[in-house]
């Protein structure tokens, strides 16, 4: 594989990412499933880099999951998104930083819709004004938070305590990157590096010392699929897609999977548990499953934060094998202990422990 060819493509998909003063919009599910991710993003941006990142308490779900499940109509979701833009305007911000790839896809799709069909934009302005009395501006800069971490990946590398290197062998860790479909497949120009060979995560991995694994099903969907997952009887469809990916990456012996989309992280993490339960299959080495991390979690781990503060214990696939490879110092006794020292119940059936 020739990296020069990829570099040429990346040069064609350079994206403008704002440097400061972000209006931050959270994901619905990340706070429950990967609770350390958004917290670390805010800490890193505000306390480490000294950036201005603002959260408005009136921000709601973008209703993207409802939209993709045929519950929320287009006109409604356009008004919801317009309301977020109104909150942004009222708070005096022009750069939006979006935590979720589904939301990012919703925002970019709606902005493109308004660009191509100005009548829809006028309709939305009218709808929002009638419903709430609010007015909005189109953001000057739209970035997914993985774009922002990508932008500052060298700053993270400079502070790396545990680079993505196997301490025992000295060789780089094999990292699979998985990009959410709605990050760039609809609009390649809005993704760092485009849709076929995205750079946003592979850039972080290389910058932090890892080896990027390019495997045959890299571009395949994680299997989330919204309505497919929401109906229980259809979940086999969702899971079969995930299994297809893991079976394809298995020969490359990945040490971890890095994702930028909440749905992907959730399904690639949790379906590994289900696959083990249903078929007895695991896809890592030595009978282990492959840890699936968000980019904030990985950034925090590389920078030497306590993995329990990053929320890694809340994954289905536990990351201890990864910690041992990276040399991360951790205390198993603290794993399910609250900040004030209380012992929480420990979940049963965790994988990799």
């Amino acid at each position: 594989m020739k990296s020069e060819g990829k570099k040429k493509i990346w040069a064609d998909y350079q994206k403008e990412i704002a440097d400061d003063h972000f209006f931050y919009v959270r994901s619905c599910i990340r706070q429950s499933f990967f609770p350390g991710s958004e917290q670390f993003f805010l800490h890193f941006m505000r306390d480490v880099l000294g950036k201005d990142v603002y959260e408005n308490p009136s921000h709601t779900s973008c209703t993207g999951i409802g939209y993709h499940s045929d519950i929320v109509p287009l006109r409604t979701i356009m008004a919801v998104v317009a309301r977020h833009f109104a909150l942004m305007k009222e708070s005096g911000y022009k750069n939006i930083a979006i935590s979720c790839v589904t939301s990012f896809g919703i925002y970019t799709e709606i902005l493109e819709t308004w660009r191509h069909f100005p009548r829809e934009l006028e309709q939305t302005r009218e709808d929002l004004y009638k419903a709430t009395g609010r007015e909005f501006d189109i953001p000057e800069n739209v970035a997914h938070t993985s774009d922002i971490i990508y932008k500052f990946s060298n700053e993270i590398a400079a502070k790396a305590k545990y680079p993505l290197v196997n301490r025992l062998t000295g060789s780089p860790l094999n990292v699979v990157e998985h990009i959410g479909c709605h990050y760039a497949k609809m609009f390649p120009k809005h993704g760092v590096g485009g849709a076929e060979f995205p750079r946003v995560l592979s850039g972080m991995i290389e910058s932090w010392g890892g080896n990027v694994v390019d495997y045959p099903e890299r571009r395949h969907c994680c299997g989330f699929g919204f309505r497919q997952y929401l109906v229980q009887a259809n979940r086999g469809y969702s899971m079969s897609n995930t299994i297809k990916k893991f079976a394809s990456m298995q020969p490359f012996n990945p040490d971890l999977v890095l994702t930028n989309c909440p749905g992907c992280t959730m399904f690639m993490d949790k379906w590994q548990y289900t696959a083990k339960e249903m078929e007895g299959t695991v896809y890592g080495r030595n009978g282990e499953a492959i840890p699936v991390l968000t980019y904030e979690e990985l950034a925090g781990l590389v920078m030497g934060y306590n993995p329990w503060d990053l929320g890694l214990q809340y994954h289905m696939v536990q990351s201890e094998p990864l910690f041992r490879k990276m040399g991360v110092v951790f205390d198993p006794a603290d794993k399910f202990r609250t900040k004030d020292g209380k012992q929480m119940p420990s979940p049963a059936d965790l994988i990799n422990v």
Partner: protein
């Protein structure tokens, strides 16, 4: 000396037209941007439908331009063209000004740059090559993978950069299907035990003896045809290529591993032609080639009096058509020169 004609581009069309004009008594200047003449023909090894060595075509063309009335200037581009009292003044890249009573534009085509179909990974995956790359291997006499191994399973992808609005080329390049058939047969001749697969959308076998070639490729060489456009290429752990395609005749997606994949690059308006069009204010059509004055009666005429087109600068053509088109351009030029007074 007779009237002065400048011919721009010394590929098959330009060489044929220039030679013919010189024979008819015109004073001809043939300008070529490369150091060598012959254009795209030089990049091919054997030609369809009869497997003739392209060198025979090159030596035929060379013999056409060896004429006392013809001046050949190579390594030079025409940067601008102006008209003054019926006279054309062509400015070259190295500062010359060529005067002419008529101009023949024969700037030819460029092969589609396959890396623009990002999903095929040309320039990234080691064993994804273009049809032109394969011709080079044929000329060299060895078809090998990047690691030096002999490929045992080879795929050929039709319509790369043709019939593809995503890359801005909605038209059919006409020759890629037959090129694939020809190359598939050559691969089988060279690598007897290899299995060869053509991935096609339609088999467009419109030229003389093309359909016969297609049948021969099935009957004598056992070439496998799979109807469906390859959607994505990747590389597996063993450094083999994995293609995803729908077998549209079976109505199901199909996955296959290959040792080598050859992309049948389509034909596009050449970059130098596009530059000339902008500089000289010549119209281009929807397919981005030079726009001909009339589809039935004026395929050699531009919308400007005295400027004529020959060959693939107007549309995809094979060599036979190119040479015929160039000869027809000469008839139009001579006609036009006769109408000039004095």
């Amino acid at each position: 000396m007779g009237r002065r004609v400048v011919v721009i581009g010394a590929g098959a069309a330009g060489m044929e037209a220039a030679g013919q004009l010189a024979k008819a008594g015109c004073s001809v200047t043939l300008v070529e941007k490369e150091e060598e003449t012959g254009g795209n023909v030089r990049n091919w090894y054997h030609l369809f439908p009869d497997h003739r060595d392209s060198k025979e075509v090159i030596s035929y063309l060379d013999s056409r331009v060896a004429h006392k009335n013809l001046t050949l200037i190579t390594g030079t581009t025409v940067e601008d063209m102006e008209q003054d009292h019926g006279q054309f003044i062509l400015k070259t890249g190295d500062g010359m000004a060529l005067e002419a009573d008529a101009v023949v534009v024969s700037t030819g085509f460029d092969l589609f740059r396959s890396e623009r179909k990002e999903e095929y990974g040309y320039g990234i995956y080691d064993n994804v090559i273009s049809s032109a790359d394969l011709e080079k291997m044929f000329r060299k006499g060895e078809v090998l993978r990047h690691d030096g191994e002999i490929p045992r399973r080879i795929g050929l992808v039709h319509c790369v950069g043709s019939r593809d609005e995503k890359v801005g080329n909605p038209y059919c390049s006409k020759l890629c299907c037959v090129t694939a058939v020809k190359q598939a047969m050559e691969l089988k001749k060279k690598l007897n035990t290899a299995r060869v697969f053509c991935f096609y959308m339609d088999m467009r076998m419109g030229g003389a003896l093309y359909e016969e070639l297609y049948r021969e490729s099935q009957e004598k060489y056992g070439i496998n045809y799979i109807r469906g456009k390859v959607s994505e290429v990747s590389e597996n752990f063993d450094n083999r290529l994995v293609v995803k395609v729908e077998d549209t005749l079976a109505g199901r997606p199909l996955k296959m591993e290959l040792d080598m994949l050859v992309l049948m690059a389509g034909m596009e308006m050449s970059e130098s032609g596009a530059r000339l069009a902008r500089a000289a204010g010549l119209k281009t059509g929807e397919n981005k080639f030079f726009a001909i004055a009339d589809h039935h009666f004026g395929s050699n005429k531009s919308e400007l009096n005295g400027i004529f087109y020959a060959g693939t600068c107007t549309m995809p053509m094979n060599i036979t058509e190119t040479i015929s088109h160039a000869r027809a351009a000469v008839a139009d030029v001579l006609d036009y020169l006769n109408t000039l007074s004095g």
